[in-house]
Each structure stands twice: as C-alpha cells, then as structure tokens.
Amino acid sequence: MGEPAPDVNSMGSLPYIVLGGYLLMLLAFGIAGWRKSTDSEEDYYLAGRGQGWIVSALTIMATFFSSFALLGAPGMVYRDGVVFALFSLNVPLAGASVYFFGAKIRRIGQARGYVTPGDMISDYYGSPTALRLLVALIGVLYAIPYVVMQIKAGGILSQQMFPGENSFEIGAIVLSIITMIYIMIGGMRSVAWTDVVQGILLMGGMLIGGLAVVTVLGGPGAFFTKVAELPPKSLSVPGTSGFWNPEMLLTVCLFGSIGSLVQPAQWMRFYAAKSTGTLRQSALIFGVALTACFLFGVMLVGLGGQVLYPLVDAAGEYYTNADGKLLPNPAVGDTPGGFNDIMVVVLKERLPTLLGSFGALVASLIMVAIMAAAMSTADSNLHSMSAVLTRDIYDRFLRPKASQKERTWVGRGIISLATIVSTVLVIIAHRSEVDPLAMIATLGLFAIAFSSQLLPVTFDMLYIRKGTKEGAVAGMITGLAIVFFISPFMSLDLGQGIADMRKAMLGMIDKGAWGLIGNVLVFIAVSKFTKPIDKARIEEFAKVADSDS
C-alpha cells in the first residue's frame, strides 16, 4: 500500500489569488502587445521579425511544452512506470532541430518575406494550390487536437483545485476566453511575451514539482528506496500497460521532437527570430535545460505517484475497468483518463500538509504553471492556425485583394471560432460516458503524427533538393491517409483482417512513423519519374539557406 493520506488538504484562498493575479498579468501583456503593434499582417503574425534570443528561446519552449509536460507526461509515468521517463531523451533532439531546421527556415523566410510554412513550401515546389492546401490542412489537423488538449487541461485543473458543480466546464471556458482575448488583441507579440512568463513558470513548475514529490517521500534516498519497491512492471520495459516497447519509445521520441518542431507555430517562430545566432542559443537552452526539467523534475512526480497512490490493491491486483484497461488508484481517479490528475492530486493533497502555508503557495504556483503550460501552447497554435487559414486560404482563394487590416481581422475571427469549437468539443467529450479525448498524451501524439508529415518536404527543401512537386503532393497525401487509417479515432468497419492489421501496426511503432514511411517512399518514387524543379529556383533557395548570415 502507499503512504497514508493526510487529513488536511485545504489550500485556502491562495490558489484563487495566485491564479487571479496570473490571469490579470496575461491580459496586461495582451494590451501592451497591442499598443506596440501595427496594422500590418507581418507584425500581427511575426512581431516584425525582430525577436531576440530570450523571447525566441522561451516562446519556442513554451509552445513545445504543453499540458502534456505537466499533466500528460507524469500521468504516463504514473501509469507505465520508469520506462516513460526515457521519453525525456526526445528533448535534446528537439533542441538540435531548432538549429538544424530553424536556421535555414529563418534565412529563407526572412529573405523572401514568408509568413506561413505554406508560403515557403508552395513557392519552392511551384505548387500554389495543392501543396499550399495540404500544408494548411496539416496545420489545422495539428492545431485542433493540441488546442483541445490544452483546454481540457484547464478543465482538469479547475476540477481538482475547485471541486464543485461544473468546475471542469468553468475552468475550460476561463482558459479559452483569456487566451483568446490576449491573442486577438496583441497577436504574435503578446503571444511571445506571455510565453516568456509562461516558459519560466513552466520550467520552474516542472523542477519544483519533482522536488516537491521527492520531499514528500523523505528526500532523494528515501524516494528511490521506495521507488525500488514498486511492482517489477513499473521498473522495466515495456511498462505496466505493455505499450512502451523500445521501438515504440524510440519512434515516439523521434517524432515527438522533430514532428513538433516543424509544425506551423514553431515554423513561424523561426521566421520571427532576429538572427541565426538567436536560434543557436535557443537550441542550446532547449536541449540542455529542458531535458533536465523532465528527467529531474516532472517525471519523478509519476514515479512518486506510484508510491503514494499504488496501482495495485491489497491483493496485488492492478485496478482495471470492465474492458480490462488500467485504472489509477481510486484516490486519484476512476477512469483511464484519471492518470493525468496525478500531479494535481499529489500537490493538492500532500504539499500543504507537509509544508503548511508555504506548501500551499508552492502548490498554487505549480498549478499556475500547469495553466501556463496549457495556455502557452493553446495561444501559439490558435495564432498559427489563424495565420495559416488567413494567408493560405482566405488571401489566396477567397479574397486575394483584401487589405492587410481586413486579413488581420479575419485572422482574429478565426481565432475566436476555433476557440469556441475546441471548447465545445472538450465539454461534449467530458460529458459523454466514453470520453473520446481521455488521455492527454494520446491526443498529443495523434497531433504530432500529422505534423510529422511535413518532415520529408522540409528535409528535402533545406538539405537534399531532389524532390518534385508531384512527389511532395503524393507523399503528403499518402502519409496523411496512413495516419488517418491507423488512428484510434478511425471508426470505419473495414472487416476483421483490416482491424487486426491496424491493431498490430499501432502496437509496433508510432503512428506518425508509419505515415512517414509511406510518405517518404511515395515521395522518392514519384519524384524519380516526374519533372524536376527549376534548377535556378533550387540554387536561389540553396544560396540563402546555406549562407552564414
């Protein structure tokens, strides 16, 4: 059995004060961003392309780390044990990718005035319609699940902190509205400035969360002694659920990092960076500091959670539901999605008891960090989705002669519409008996599987330069089709044989990897037999991309 639960778990009014102060600060940043902004589209979407290294590093990090970092990841370690802590090793790769992809994307984007990924990809391959639309589709397919999971995190947090009728819905709606307001009024500048604060909170929250759990269990020595007594499945591969075989873990690490770094919101942050040096410094901070926040911070929360709230009952049997799916300890939750709550439960129930009002303050700050993690990713994705839909669809196909001011307002309209739709989706799913959006981690990996389909064209455009327009289009369509086919959300009845094949594929490697394999093979094959891209254009791009500026 775990540690005895404390008698007192009240945090008083501190969470309200800390959270209220934080939300007011965000609105102030929104107004400050608006005061400094101009009516130009480039300013609204890229903050005038002048972001320095501190803002760039923190906005790239805050966009990369979502509620997944503070809820999903410890939740997954709580469910599967130490194996998922190794997911942290994707972060140095993500850091290296900031430089590897970002430096070249920035140079080309700066030289040619691009705003969205679609601008660059469609221009390079000479495909103003098909590729632009496909890239826009990928942008939306990535952004919606990511925004949905951040809003859901706001609901989870509210439900745990302020239990009561409709507390989930209220939390989700408050997070959505505040985020929507400051993006709409301040654009990229407000998003990036709030990301700086949110990034600092996020890193602090990850480290302090780990430290808090280690403290609760009596310090590092006692912590690891108790962890060593966990069930063998929690200390080995493939983990409690049996899902995390090494191939799965490796492919999720690969695509979780690189796939997340070529998604539209990050791509736009590369465009917005002031210099290549800015991205070099961002890459270093990202790869070094953030991995430490994961390995020495938040991942320990999941392990400590297994000690405090064991997954097995007194008879040594795992808690499961009627379908045989693993469940958390009843004190944490009663559905498979309840694993996500481990961080909040530990903080709320253990820290104030151990450290008194100081513990309550620390717990409140980490709760705000969770909110910050969710908002910093939601704002970036809503903002980039607005850019993608405005630049790549509205400007090109609906109203090519619209003024910059009109486009910016259309972008704001898209942000509000996407926010409302995502919030409604979250609330409907939460109220349904079988919550289809149960695990935050699953939702995140699904979104990344889509954005990973941009990798072949990105890599080809920046480094190889052998692909053709037809190859790029065919590869992307193939990749997307495969991801749709094997996604857990695909419910078409295609017969037992196909269902078995899907299940086997899902159990082997990450779904994004399957999509990417198909994407790359088709991209290469079709490129072999179709007309190469104009040599002058390739040289023009290469000259800028490979320069030392």
């Binding site: 130009s40 200390l235 591969v237 873990l249 002031k274 270093l284 070094v288 390995l295």
Partner: protein, 95 residues
C-alpha cells in the same frame, strides 16, 4: 570562413550526428534490451547505484546527448552568428 575550416566543421558535424543517432538508438530505443531486467527472473536486479536501472540508463544517455549538443554549439554551429537586424515596422503603432 575558409573552405578548410568549413570542411573541418562539416566533418565534426557529421560525426556528432552519427553519435547522436547511436545515442538515440541505444538510449530510448532497442538498446534498452541490453539492460532491461526480466520481470520473470526472481534474481533480476532492478536497480543500479540505488536508482531504477532503466532510469540510470536514461541519465547516462542524457549525458552523452548533452556533450554532443555542447560540442555542436561551440564547434559546429559557431560560424553562423551573423546577426542581421530587421527593419522596424514602418506603419504607425497603436501605442
């Protein structure tokens, strides 16, 4: 930057990339099988230096990745430092 220096940097960059890929394959990838304790073996050791073995394995490969990134930062990425400040937005601000 001279072509000799550029070539040297390129070579080191490729070497670091290869070591990084190896670190990924061994760290969170199939290399895990080298140290993974067998849950059916009653004598299996689940810890190393007091830490869960799988976690200790992860820490080691984090160290390797750290060295690679620092080397790349100081030796390979170093030449691309030219800051090119952008023009200030030309339109009137709201402030």
């Amino acid at each position: 930057m001279s072509s000799v220096e550029r070539e040297k940097r390129g070579k080191l960059g490729r070497l670091l990339a290869v070591v990084f890929v190896i670190a990924l394959i061994l760290g969170p990838g199939p290399g895990l099988r080298l140290i993974n304790p067998d849950i059916n073996d009653p004598n299996a050791a689940f810890t190393l230096f007091g830490l869960p073995k799988v976690y200790a394995w992860g820490l080691f490969w984090y160290g390797v990745e750290l060295v690679i990134i620092l080397t790349a930062y100081f030796k390979v990425w170093r030449g691309d430092d030219g800051d090119r400040a952008t023009d200030e937005p030309k339109e009137t601000s709201h402030g």
